[in-house]
């Protein structure tokens, strides 16, 4: 069941420069020149420029009466970056936001929209129940087992990744 999606970063020289931030600019440019071949846009290339890796993306089934849904996944960025937005086809949900479930002073749990999620280069960031999730607001139809949703993630660097989240009743087993 474990599904690993490797998505090529929509590469740009500025992205690679960001990845090498702090180093000598001329070196960076030459690095960019050598790595920014056509290969970097294919999933098979695992060079240092790297890809955003998204694993185990899934969305929970939603009952007929629910207008809200949530999707979860593990994201690894090749560079220090921030996840700033997620979007899905407007035919699936009217709006998509990144939310965090937090505990307030009263010990109650509440959700809040977050402007961004910081991603540290090479470290897995997990969106999981009770923590962060991609919130699908205003579902046009129930999310049903056997279907999937394409979610486009946008990073502060400008990189984007589209991941397919399988709809299931529970989190896929590890």
């Amino acid at each position: 069941m474990k599904k690993k999606s490797i998505i090529a970063v929509v590469a740009s020289a500025t992205l690679v420069l960001a990845a090498c931030g702090g180093d000598d600019a001329s070196t960076d440019t030459s690095t960019a020149d050598t790595t920014m071949t056509d290969d970097t846009t294919t999933a098979g290339d695992l060079t240092a420029a790297g890809e955003i890796v998204v694993e185990g993306a899934w969305a929970r089934t939603s009952p007929m009466e629910a207008t809200m849904g949530a999707a979860y996944m593990k994201i690894t960025s090749p560079i220090d970056d921030e996840l700033v937005s997620a979007s899905v086809d407007s035919a699936i949900s009217m709006e998509t936001q990144i939310h965090e479930t937090v505990e307030n002073e009263a010990g109650e749990m509440a959700m809040q929209e977050v402007a961004s999620i910081p991603l540290v280069a090479g470290e897995v960031f997990e969106l999981a129940p009770g923590g962060y999730h991609v919130m699908l607001m205003g579902l046009s139809a129930p999310l049903e087992v056997g279907t999937s949703i394409d979610i486009t993630l946008t990073m502060k660097s400008g990189a984007t990744a589209t991941v397919t989240a399988e709809v299931s009743e529970d989190a896929p087993s590890m």
């Binding site: 307030n104 109650e108 749990m109 919130m135 529970d170």
Partner: protein, 200 residues
């Protein structure tokens, strides 16, 4: 994220125990030295047509009552908890006959009976849908469980709901015998149901 790890660790611990002997396995849920008594509380149970009947927070004889406070527009905590319950029920035979599941809506204005009942039915058979628009009554019931909730409406029309995310297991005397904090997961619920069923 920490909760995720916790439930994982708990699951591993459970597997370790299970191979020794089942009967001495500890409950994963929380038990108070001075258990909460909720059996003197009651509120309206609604059917899909909106017909109300009086519901007391006590399990039927020889059964358990599981109580959760949530709402249907909840995308993360409520479906996670209810789906974990559904998984645990599937794993422990007899759950459907031995456990009644009740959810009190903390968002009664939007959770009308015709939404609430089918929503719960998608997770468990014959759920108990509890709904009151009497704020004082809702608060009184919540207080008995040491729970609370609040609703804040933004000018944009967005509704923010905060609520206690624990799940309560109540016996036939109306005493809360185990409290499941959010994150205990299906494994924790399964473990506790097996133990609790031994005493039914």
């Amino acid at each position: 994220m920490r909760k995720q790890f916790l439930s994982l660790a708990v699951a591993v611990a459970f597997l370790g125990c299970a191979s020794d002997s089942g009967s001495d396995a500890p409950l994963f849920g929380m038990q108070r030295n001075d258990p909460l008594v909720v059996g003197d509380q009651s509120m309206p149970r609604v059917d899909e047509a909106g017909v109300e009947s009086r519901f007391e927070f006590k399990a039927a004889d020889g059964k358990l009552l599981v109580v959760y406070f949530g709402f249907t527009n909840c995308p993360d905590l409520c479906p996670t908890t209810l789906a974990d319950l559904r998984s645990a029920f599937r794993r422990v035979s007899g759950s459907a006959e031995k456990v009644e599941v009740a959810m009190v809506t903390v968002d009664p204005e939007r959770d009308t009976a015709d939404r609430l009942v089918p929503y719960l039915s998608s997770f468990v058979d014959d759920p108990v849908a509890l709904r009151t628009t009497d704020t004082n009554l809702l608060e009184r019931v919540e207080a008995a469980f040491l729970a609370s909730s609040s609703i804040e409406k933004e000018a944009t029309g967005k509704v923010n709901v905060s609520h206690t995310a624990a799940t309560y297991v109540v016996d036939e005397t109306g005493t809360v015998i185990v409290e499941w904090p959010f994150g205990i997961g299906a494994d924790g619920m399964e473990n506790d149901l097996r133990i609790l069923f031994e005493d039914l």
